[in-house]
């Protein structure tokens, strides 16, 4: 009789656990999950968090923004479960246990003023990654004439002064470089950089997706310098990006060289609440939320599935 009872209890427990894993009834997830990190990911994490806590009312989320590096430091120190990191994870950080999960795509775009004297040549020929490297890294190209055969005028190279994901992504677009390899006058923050290049006809800068467009169109007074990705010396239709929709499509396709990855970072593979939250973010519901927030491009279904298989 006793063994029968034990077996019965065990079976009930197993069934309950089984259904928990499958159907995830809301009342079985509880506790507090904290996230900190990149400003670039913060708005998205908040939206995901709202939907997640609606689904699991016993879960409390504590999300704070303070820069990618803070997120990384916090998660490695165990102060938060998930760090939001808008740059590639350094090898030294991985050695300390950082486990990055690719959660969204974004892009950084080279920008110039709409009053640029070499505008016609730029929009016909674009600049190859090699030319950008010669401008930003080696300093071999210093004039618009050298770059695209425009008028004889210097290029005023601008970069971000604050350590940020956009600069890391731009440096990585040009090759195996870091932010401190980028030459140029350093301007603080994305809006500052955009304003500076808008005002300077000879300026060249780079900006995040969400700052380059206002509404569906380009921000006023700004052009995106086409990147001649296939190096054929002219701007092909796919390389000309002038609307938000087009930018999303090119980033999603994986063709755009300036595409950038956003990460959730956990210490070791994600467990418990963190795991449930990340799985939610990468689910279909999570993707719909991402699209409604705007400014981010979702992973393809295949990419999401591949990320989920990693833990």
């Amino acid at each position: 009789m006793k063994t029968f009872l034990t077996a019965l209890v065990a079976a009930t427990l197993l069934v309950t656990l089984g259904t928990t894993a499958l159907a995830q009834p809301p009342q079985h997830l509880r506790g507090t999950l904290s996230l900190s990190g990149a400003w670039a990911i913060y708005p998205l994490a908040v939206k995901w968090g709202e939907a997640f806590t609606k689904k699991y009312p016993d879960v409390k989320l504590d999300i704070s923004a303070g820069g990618a590096g803070k997120g990384m430091t916090d998660v490695l120190a165990g102060a938060v479960e998930i760090g939001m990191v808008s740059r590639e994870v350094d090898r030294a950080e991985k050695a300390k246990g950082a486990f990055p999960i690719f959660i969204a795509k974004d892009g950084v775009f080279p920008t110039a003023s709409a009053k640029n004297p070499a505008l016609a040549q730029l929009q016909a020929k674009g600049l190859s990654v090699k030319t950008f490297t010669d401008i930003y890294i080696t300093g071999r190209v210093t004039s618009w004439r050298q770059a695209v055969g425009g008028p004889h005028a210097p290029i005023h190279v601008y970069t971000r002064s604050d350590a940020c994901g956009a600069a890391s992504a731009w440096a990585a677009t040009l090759g195996a470089y870091k932010q401190d390899d980028l030459k140029g006058i350093g301007v603080y923050g994305d809006p500052g950089l955009l304003e500076t290049v808008r005002r300077d006809p000879l300026g060249l800068a780079y900006n995040n997706l969400s700052y380059v467009f206002s509404g569906d169109a380009l921000a006023k007074g700004i052009v995106i310098v086409p990147i001649d990705a296939n190096k054929n010396g002219k701007v092909d239709p796919a390389e000309r990006i002038d609307t938000r929709e087009k930018a999303y499509a090119e980033i999603a396709s994986g063709r755009y060289p300036g595409a950038r990855r956003e990460y959730f970072v956990t210490k070791g593979a994600p467990k418990g609440l963190a795991r449930a939250f990340i799985e939610f973010a990468l689910s279909d519901a999570g993707r719909k939320i991402l699209e409604s927030v705007g400014g981010y491009v979702p992973l393809s279904e295949k990419e999401s599935a591949a990320e989920l298989r990693r833990f």
């Binding site: 950082a98 350590a163 870091k178 140029g184 005002r199």
Partner: protein
């Protein structure tokens, strides 16, 4: 009864001593903490190489601090050149010439200037000073000052030492004016009366008697202002160009130490030597400010000894 009063006295004296030691000890505690955190960098490279290095490329393990030291000194020097003469003249006017009604209007205005947050100065510099230098002053310098040292330029984006210096000069002015004004007013009236009784004009009284008596205080006002200039971060960072090189002209961009720390602190801390390098920069800044204060004190002691 007497006993209790003695105990009171004893406790009060020691409590005050503890408070004083605590305040003084803070400087040492901060310096030690910074030094310890910067130690990994100092252990891996020689101090001379760090101070003389021109290249800042942490990802390649190159940590040259010279551009940042030079940037700090340049911006502070430009701010001093712009602010000190104007501030001292303004303080003399307020203390010696201005009537009570002028004082009543001007003093609060200057005090408001002191209360404006530095980021507001930075935005103002970005919107007004930087474009003015890029569009007006820069092109003028390009045409007319090409052969002058310190003032020559091929082209300036406006993000420059001059822009940082202008913003800083305005930021440190209220403190310098306020202290200098107090110091001048503290000079006993009898000195002025005696000088004028001997037939000195007002200007002679001020330069020969009042200013000489007030010299240590005036110097302290300037030192305090410049110490703030050495460490001011946000407003300068927004307009100075943040370009790590050793400048040769006030129209070049520069990269002062505080800007280096503010731009990168928190972001790059998970990369081993970067952390040490930034705290090394903080330590260097602390040493720079202490050295500056020390130097000022030595000069001051000499000056007062000669004046008396």
């Amino acid at each position: 009864m007497l006993q209790r009063r003695h105990i009171h006295d004893y406790i009060a004296r020691h409590a005050m001593l503890a408070a004083t030691l605590f305040a003084g000890g803070l400087v040492i505690a901060i310096a030690v903490a910074l030094y310890l955190r910067a130690h990994p960098l100092l252990a891996s490279q020689s101090l001379a190489a760090l101070l003389r290095g021109h290249t800042w490329a942490p990802s390649r393990g190159e940590f040259g601090f010279l551009p940042f030291i030079a940037g700090t000194l340049w911006v502070t020097a430009v701010a001093a050149a712009l602010a000190v003469p104007v501030c001292l003249l303004a303080a003399v006017y307020l203390a010696e010439y201005a009537g009570p009604r002028v004082r009543a209007v001007v003093k609060p205005l200057i005090d408001v200037l002191a209360g404006i947050p530095s980021v507001v100065y930075g935005v103002w510099g970005l919107l007004v000073v930087v474009p003015y230098i890029a569009e007006t002053l820069g092109p003028y310098a390009q045409r007319h000052w090409a052969h002058l040292p310190l003032l020559h330029t091929d082209y300036t984006t406006g993000f420059s030492i001059l822009a940082g210096g202008v913003v800083l000069a305005i930021m440190i002015s209220p403190a310098i004016i306020a202290i200098a004004d107090e110091v001048l007013r503290a000079v006993p009236r009898e000195y002025r009366e005696a000088a004028q009784a001997l037939g000195a004009t007002r200007a002679e009284t001020i330069t020969r008697v009042v200013a000489r008596k007030a010299l240590p205080g005036l110097a302290a006002a300037v030192v305090l202002g410049l110490s703030r200039a050495l460490g001011e971060t946000m407003a300068v960072l927004m307009v100075v160009g943040n370009w790590p090189h050793v400048p040769t002209s006030i129209f070049d961009g520069a990269y002062p130490l505080p800007a280096l720390i503010a731009n990168n602190y928190g972001e790059m801390m998970s990369i081993p030597l970067y952390d040490a390098a930034l705290l090394g920069a903080a330590f260097l800044l602390l040493v720079l400010v202490l050295a500056f204060n020390l130097l000022a004190r030595v000069v001051l002691v000499r000056a007062t000894r000669e004046a008396v």
